[in-house]
């Protein structure tokens, strides 16, 4: 049978507020256990939550960025369950009335097609603490530094139908939250993690199949792998006539598989009810408009501008707007060298290639946007040729100079464009290679085009790469054709 995969995601984004969502304790990552948890985070008797306004502002800006409705009224509820790292015995979250309503996010797929994924809602909630099982010989340690950290949970509709679409979706969310500056999006530190719902149904069937929920997947790659594994697992069950059971599963990246965590029967009844310690959140139009005025240019807007005013292909625009840092880097390079296409090629090709190889993020690039821009400027104005540019780039990467100009001067890479100098080099090469000249003369018209490459190569070699290749090409053609 032909199966259709249906995927929905719940992405948890840690908001980069300075303090926690309901207390004044710091949210900085990596502190000594339990040094960033105040009485409120510890759930001490008598303590009460006070909502962090900045977390609300960030959630609203996210809502505006995905064209969502921002309801005038939203409510914090308590989700009740017992766990040692959940200090109050409930998590303050939102259910019936979330702060961000329906919206949508465009994703771009590998073949360049754009697809819209609907967002069901996004809500604010507090994170729990962390249970530490190692180093306590049979006991469990509790670190409450993370307890109360503000999270925005973004819940999609089940609009995705492949691992690729799901992956493109999280990348899009990642781009939006980093553009907005509301999260550092650092998946390794848990600033972004997601729960993936996967189900299969016979192609053409309206009704959804039984889903499995894979909890806490924390990298783009793992999302794709976990989904691929689930599709395989579920289709095997269905092909054999079995029934998929509704359950929560965990993805293990070491074994590249998902395994059952709990079934629906074991699931908690969270007994949600409005938190009586927090009044309903009321947001008027003026507030929402003010937040709108604070929005930066978003990925979709940037993409459109890159295509329309800079003349980039949609593919290039898409790659370059993948993250705010990358887009800003590209724009700086582009402004410096004045050639968008050249800048796009170099940033995507040489720069990203090198960064990937060295496992570096764009923000850690040894070559700054100004340096690369300076290099491309010299390429664009014919001071150096493409080959020399690669050398300059390599030197900049190795920190062998502050600017491209310094390296060009030091290594004598300036392109020779002096006609007299090029002409004498061409004459010399023609004189030194009589056999090839004869072959050229005897060749048919269409073969000569290819054969000229040999002479160009020789001239370039003689000039130690500094001759201007188009100029050399033209001059050789003229001289050789004169011999015909």
């Amino acid at each position: 049978m032909q199966w259709e995969v249906v995927i929905g995601l719940e992405v948890h984004v840690q908001l980069s507020t300075c303090s926690k969502i309901f207390s004044g304790a710091s949210t900085a990552f990596g502190a000594e256990p339990n040094t960033q948890a105040c009485g409120i985070d510890l759930g001490l008797p008598g303590t009460l939550p006070v909502l962090n306004e900045n977390a609300v502002a960030m959630a609203v800006r996210f809502g505006l960025a995905i064209n969502a409705e921002i309801p005038e009224y939203s409510v914090f509820e308590r989700k009740n369950y017992f766990y040692p790292d959940l200090p109050k015995g409930y998590q303050t979250s939102q259910m019936a009335h979330p702060v961000v309503g329906r919206g949508e996010v465009d994703i771009t797929l590998g073949d360049g097609t754009v697809k819209t994924v609907r967002i069901h809602h996004a809500h604010l909630e507090e994170d729990a603490g962390k249970s530490l099982h190692e180093d306590y010989s049979g006991m469990t340690g509790i670190d409450l530094n993370r307890a109360g950290t503000p999270l925005l949970e973004i819940v999609s509709e089940p609009d995705m139908h492949s691992a690729e679409e799901a992956s493109a979706y999280i990348r899009a969310i990642h781009a939006i939250v980093t553009y907005l500056g509301i999260s550092d999006g650092n998946m390794a530190e848990g600033s972004m993690r997601c729960d993936v719902n996967v189900s299969l149904r016979p192609k053409g069937q309206e009704k959804l199949g039984t889903r499995a929920e894979i909890k806490n997947v924390n990298s783009f790659r793992f999302v794709e792998r976990a989904i691929a594994f689930e599709i395989e697992r579920q289709s095997e069950i269905l092909e054999e006539g079995g029934v998929v059971i509704q359950e929560t599963r965990l993805y293990n990246p070491d074994l590249d598989e998902t395994r059952s965590m709990r079934t629906k029967e074991e699931a908690n009844d969270y007994r949600y009810f409005p938190c009586p310690d927090l009044l309903p959140l009321m947001l008027d139009e003026a507030y929402v408009e003010h937040q709108r005025s604070l929005l930066p240019e978003l990925p979709s807007e940037k993409r459109q501008r890159f295509v329309e005013s800079l003349g980039l292909s949609t593919y290039d625009a898409d790659v370059l707007t993948g993250s705010r840092a990358l887009a800003e880097y590209f724009e700086a390079v582009q402004q410096h060298c004045g050639d968008a296409k050249l800048a796009a090629n170099w940033v995507q090709g040489d720069l990203l290639g090198r960064l990937n190889r060295d496992g570096l993020d764009i923000t850690e690039s040894p070559v700054s946007a100004e340096q690369l821009g300076g290099l491309l400027m010299r390429l664009a104005d014919d001071t150096i040729n493409g080959k020399a540019a690669k050398q300059v780039f390599a030197d900049l990467w190795e920190c062998k100079g502050e600017t491209a100009d310094e390296i060009i001067d030091a290594r004598g890479l300036k392109q020779v464009t002096d006609t007299g100098a090029i002409e004498s080099l061409c004459d010399q090469v023609i004189a030194d290679n009589p056999v090839q000249v004869t072959q050229y003369r005897e060749a048919t018209e269409d073969k000569r085009g290819k054969m000229i490459g040999f002479f160009v190569g020789q001239v370039m070699k003689a000039s130690r790469g500094t001759a201007n290749p188009p100029q050399v090409n033209a001059m050789l053609k003229e001289k050789l054709d004169a011999l015909l």
Partner: protein, 483 residues
């Protein structure tokens, strides 16, 4: 000195008749002598009290004393007090030393008051008789075979017995007004949000309210001046001007419109209590007030709605007592589930367990709409009843409790006990203020007159109560205590 009101003691301190140290030590002596029989205190902080008294005396010498400087009081053991055990009357918190002060404690300390200690209470404020305390029941100073009322029974008994001139209580369904009535003192439950809940161990957050318990309305007004006001640490506290509650206490009551809710004078009300309350109302008429019968049609639904909402919130509020971070923990837990189960089984008393179970049930899937949601709808109707009534009258009056204090152990059936709060509970659901003032004695058992006002009308309530206390002497009656 133990017979004096807070206002009288303030005058005495100001006049130099006695020092705060003298006053404090004499009361500590008195607590030592009499509290064994009453059990109204869980913790007495004598040494600390004397230090605070000395500090107040020193301040007075420098001429920097405020009106409350050097005045002793006690806190219901539900208010967190830094460095002092704060038990909420529960074994669960028997070993809990609060690391911070509740906002009201902070405010009253700042005003210069001296804390004598922490008073006994029904466990986590759940009860109407003070028989649910881990530290044993409190005895009513008027008669040790009677309950003092609950859950602020320790505070009420301590004030009535002259162990302390005033104490703080909390009122979730009547826990200030009913024990005040049973012990013959004055107790005010302010408007919800008027006094910060920060640092008050939560029972039912949307109903809990701290308030003063003292001998007179004037004393309550003095305490309210220090207690009331917005607190940035409590999101439900209201940002609104705090009047001087001691101003306007003597305003005459000519033309005051009093409403008598017909539902508060029906079946279940003891005839003697009714007689006393109606007599009090006649005093008001003699002072120029006009009396009208009014109806609060949803009154009969108040107790059922309360016993859905309060336990629902309690079941969640009490989840944090899990043995992981503070409080009681069972010995040698085998695993996590065992830790939770035994810690909570050992730490909580029966009434607390009963309400946690009720609350867990009413919030659970499949029951939420039938119970919790429905109860919230009823709550809105009850609130509307009061809003409607206050368009016709200035205040409402009625009994604070259907009977006078009953015998210890007399109400073994929890539902019989819940009916004790029939006249007080709706006020918490509506969030309006209410005050109970002594208005008679039946067989040497005090009767409380309850006066209700619209939201933020406590200044007027105190005025209405004070003028009555100028005209009568019920508030001056004292239980006989063998010295």
């Amino acid at each position: 000195m133990h017979d004096k009101t807070l206002a009288e003691l303030a005058r005495g301190l100001a006049a130099g008749d006695f020092s705060s140290r003298e006053l404090t030590s004499s009361l500590l002596e008195r607590i030592k002598r009499h509290d064994g029989a009453l059990n109204s205190f869980i913790t007495v902080t004598g040494e600390q009290a004397l230090k605070e008294a000395d500090a107040a005396d020193a301040l007075r010498q420098k001429g920097e004393a405020g009106i409350l400087s050097g005045l002793p009081l006690a806190y219901k053991d539900i208010f967190c007090t830094e460095g002092v055990r704060t038990s909420a009357g529960s074994k669960m918190l028997d070993n809990f030393i609060a690391p911070y002060n509740a906002t009201v404690v902070e405010k009253l300390r700042h005003a210069g008051t001296v804390s004598l200690g922490k008073t006994n209470m029904d466990e986590f404020a759940m009860g109407s008789s003070n028989e649910n305390s881990y530290y044993g029941p409190v005895k009513n100073p008027w008669n040790p075979t009677l309950v003092p009322g609950g859950s602020s029974g320790g505070s009420a008994a301590a004030v009535a017995a002259g162990l302390v001139p005033a104490a703080l209580g909390t009122d979730t369904g009547g826990s200030i007004r009913q024990p005040a009535a049973f012990c013959g003192i004055t107790g005010l439950k302010p408007t919800y949000g008027r006094v910060s809940r920060y640092g008050m161990i939560a029972y039912a957050s949307s109903l809990d309210q701290a308030g003063p318990m003292a001998r007179t309305a004037e004393d309550c007004a003095m305490l309210m001046n220090a207690m009331a006001g917005h607190d940035a640490r409590d999101s439900t506290s209201v940002s609104r001007h705090v009047p001087d509650y001691t101003q306007g206490l003597d305003k005459p009551l000519n033309g005051l419109k009093i409403g008598l809710p017909v539902e508060y004078f029906g079946e279940g009300l003891s005839p003697e209590v009714e007689t006393a309350v109606r007599e009090a109302v006649r005093v008001y008429e003699s002072l120029g007030a006009q009396v009208i019968d009014v109806s609060l049609p949803h009154t009969s639904m108040a107790i059922p709605a309360y016993y859905v909402i309060a336990p629902a919130e309690a079941s969640s509020n009490l989840s944090r007592f899990d043995g992981v971070r503070f409080g009681h923990r069972c010995d040698d837990p085998a695993d996590l589930e065992d830790l939770y189960k035994r810690t909570r089984a050992e730490g909580f008393g029966d009434e607390v367990k009963r309400r946690i179970l009720i609350g867990t049930h009413t919030l659970s899937e499949g029951f939420f709409d039938a119970y919790y949601r429905k109860a919230q709808q009823i709550r809105r109707l009850i609130r509307q009843d009061f809003l409607d009534a206050f368009t016709r009258v200035d205040v409402l009056m009625g009994p604070a409790a259907p009977t006078t204090a009953f015998e210890l152990g007399a109400k073994a059936d929890p539902v019989q006990m819940y009916l004790q709060d029939i006249y007080t509970i709706a006020i918490n659901l509506a969030g309006i203020p209410g005050i109970s003032v002594p208005a008679g004695l039946v067989d040497n058992r005090p009767v409380g007159l309850q006066i209700l006002g619209p939201h933020f009308g406590e200044a007027h309530l105190l005025n209405v109560a004070h003028v009555y206390q100028q005209a009568t002497d019920w508030h001056q009656r004292r239980p006989e205590i063998k010295e």
